[in-house]
Amino acid sequence: MRTLASYNIKGGVGKTATTVNLAFLAAREGAQTLVWDLDPQGAASYYFRIKPKVKGGSKGLLGAKKEIDDLIKGTDYENLDLLPADFSYRHMDLILDSAKKPTHSLEKAVKPLRDEYDFLIIDCPPSISLLSENVFQAAEALLVPMIPTTLSVRTYDQLLDFLEKHRLSQLQILPFFSMVDLRKRLHREVMDTFSRECPGFLKQYIPNASEIERMGTERAAVPSYAPRGTSAHAYEELWEEVKARLR
């Protein structure tokens, strides 16, 4: 099972849209895919029309296999399941802290699912916390959507520093530009600079499109309601790049 996490300390950069749309594409190709909505806001769950409620809250989540399996819901899409969010996740850090190895609880919780799914994609809350550290431990790659502004660049550097300090360099970072508006000079300049200075950046970017904003009203993945649009195409290309990097 390949574990990816959609992460950025900043909110509103397109983490959930990334999670939902890439998971949709993975499932469409026949891969058994699980999305884990770890954000107490429950946006991913909302897009999948699944109630952000988990029996037993965070405690139920970190229990034994049978329990985690019972909490999973099938989305309307074939091959795609969801572990929904729960409002109690805002206290997740407290629960994680009480474990023997606080940064490994998440990894332990997903172990039993290893043979059931080809991909696990985690939608992370925008924060840096014990939960994030757990995600860094459990994941093999971080999808990091970034709006191309100077501040986001700074945030990116902070992330790299953090990971280095915590000896998490085995974690693959897959940064890409999100909510891109090519009419803005700042966006173009930041993207330009970054492509030159950071070869690790994914080539494909996601545009700031109303098609994507519509996810909230459509409550569906973009390729399902706008399959021939530029946004769907952008996500498809992004997914191809991500897969290539994972090999």
Binding site: E29, G30, A31, Q32, F48, I72, G74, E78, N79, D81
Partner: protein, 526 residues
């Protein structure tokens, strides 16, 4: 994760409307617009997927194809894949879980359309207030689309599929209650594919390249021999079409193996059939064997080409590509020649005469030495004799023995193997399987040894031909030279392994097994 669909049969007397109405009356179902589906069941000619417990269904939805792989047992969907057009070979599919799962099963065989079914589907969805689907019910009315004749429609049973969604157990429970208690529907006993095939007069897995003939131990040896040969003739005929069309390489392979077995039977099962006729047909089949050789050779090199490439260091792999082009061109040419011969009157006459001969009843009395013996007796005698020869020839081989002796032993082993396979049904299955397995271990080594030598020789011949035919880059010749070197090394290794392999075959436990099966029994005292 995919869950099992529950598929229920709708009895012929019941209207699908009635089912739909009852379901809508008792469950909060939302009616979707009706749709028409075309689905084709794919499997190889020898039913590899079916034998592996799977079913591959291709749904045509507009211009795209959705492939669904299912477990035959549980009906649970294993994985799915969208692609453009029906795949002919597994490598036509994009790299995805479905392809990865089937590659080792299907290998080089073509995926054939075994049967196509057209269905009118009415979908009912149980939606919650968020518009989330909690359960899906599909009412299906299906007909077969017979391939040759599109107008002939065969109606199949109507079905109700109950498709659950993970984590929503209550709706599933409620629905099953209505379906089973109120509607009294029962689970589908045969899948749609099997029902459709049977309606066309076929059975799944109705072809296997294995020798599945069942003999009566008390039967006359001559009649039993003719039956074996008829079985082989049948196999040849089944593979004719695929061979002519070159749908995949294995049709010709199975065709050739049937020819080889025929020739072996004619030679090894002595004194049962009139020698003049046997001679005549032996010549005919020798001609056939020769005919099919060149095309099969090209097929084999093309099949092993990827392995050849992989055996070279990365930088040299592309240098080999002109060899593939050469092989493909020659394969086409040889196949063309083969087709001409298979369409000739000589071939037709050979098969007709052969079939006529085999179907002739055996004479009441026969002066042939073995004709009237029981097949049980004769098989035991022949197998034992050849087995002893294998032991003798193998024991005479040591480190310095020239290669021809191993090649001879290989041929003797082949004779033994064929005999054991012809008469397999006469012996206790577990024991004879074990004995064949022992023989296989030895045969593999001898086969490799000879094969590697032939490959080396052929590659050198190809390189000469390629130079004659066109401007072949020097790098290609160098790469081919590297291949030859690898092959020679592997051949030496095979030679070294021989004594261990033969030891395994001739050890006490194995000899006891063969003795128990085939050694001449002492006559019971009357």
């Amino acid at each position: 994760m995919m869950l099992t669909s529950h598929v229920y049969r709708i009895p012929a007397a019941v209207h699908v409307h009635h089912i739909k109405d009852t379901l809508c009356d008792h469950l909060p179902m939302h009616l979707e617009p009706a749709s028409a589906l075309e689905r084709t069941f794919l499997d190889t000619f020898d039913w590899r997927l079916y034998e592996a417990g799977m079913e591959l269904e291709a749904f045509t939805v507009g211009s795209e194809v959705l492939l669904q792989l299912r477990s035959l047992d549980s009906g649970a969907a294993l994985t799915s894949l969208r692609c453009r057009g029906l795949p002919q070979f597994i490598w036509d599919l994009p790299r995805a879980p479905l392809r990865a799962r089937l590659e080792a099963v299907i290998e080089m065989r073509a995926l054939l359309r075994q049967v196509s079914v057209a269905s009118d589907v009415q979908t009912l969805k149980w939606l919650n207030k968020d518009g989330k689907t909690l359960l899906r019910l599909e009412l299906e009315e299906s007909q077969i689309q017979a391939q040759a004749d599109r107008s002939a429609e065969h109606s199949l049973q109507s079905r109700l599929r109950v498709v659950p969604y993970k984590g929503y157990d209550k709706p599933l429970k409620q629905a099953l209650q209505v379906v089973e208690q109120r509607l009294g529907l029962r689970l589908d006993e045969q899948t749609l594919m099997v029902e459709a095939l049977r309606r066309l007069g076929r059975e799944p897995a109705d072809y296997s390249s294995k020798l599945t003939i069942r003999l009566d131990p008390a039967a006359r040896a001559d009649r039993a021999t003719k039956d074996i040969l008829l079985h082989l003739l049948h196999t040849m005929k089944r593979n004719e079409q695929g061979t002519l069309e070159d749908s995949d390489s294995e049709f010709l392979h199975d065709f050739r193996v049937a020819i080889r077995r025929t020739r072996s039977a004619l030679t090894q099962i002595k004194g049962v059939l009139p020698s003049a006729r046997v001679e005549h047909f032996k010549q005919g089949f020798a001609w056939l064997g020769q005919l099919t050789g060149p095309t099969r050779d090209m097929d084999v090199y093309l099949l092993v080409f990827d392995e050849y490439q992989g055996s070279l260091p990365a930088g040299f792999r592309n240098d080999l590509l002109p060899l593939r082009t050469f092989l493909q061109a020659h394969q086409k040419k040889e196949h063309g020649e083969l087709v001409k011969h298979l369409c000739s009157t000589r071939y037709e006459r050979l098969l007709t005469d052969w079939q006529g001969f085999l179907e002739e009843p055996v004479p009441q009395r026969s002066s042939l030495p073995n004709a009237l013996r029981t097949v049980n007796d004769l098989s035991r005698e022949r197998i034992w004799r050849v087995y002893r020869r294998v032991l003798r020839e193998g024991q005479a081989i040591h480190e310095e023995t020239p290669a021809e002796f191993l090649h001879e032993l290989r041929k003797t082993c082949k004779k033994l193997r064929y005999l054991m396979e012809f008469f397999q049904s006469l012996y206790p299955p577990a024991e004879i399987k074990a004995a064949i397995k022992d023989l296989k271990v030895l045969q593999e080594n001898l086969g490799d040894f000879q094969d590697l030598e032939v490959q080396g020789t052929s590659l050198r011949e190809f390189s000469r031909q390629m130079v004659e035919e066109a401007n072949v880059p020097v790098d290609t010749l160098l790469a081919m030279g590297m291949l030859v070197e690898n092959l020679e090394r592997r051949q030496q290794k095979a030679r070294q392994e021989f004594s261990e392999r033969f030891h395994h075959f001739s050890q006490a436990a194995s000899q006891e097994r063969f003795e128990a099966l085939f050694s001449p029994k002492l006559e019971a005292v009357a």
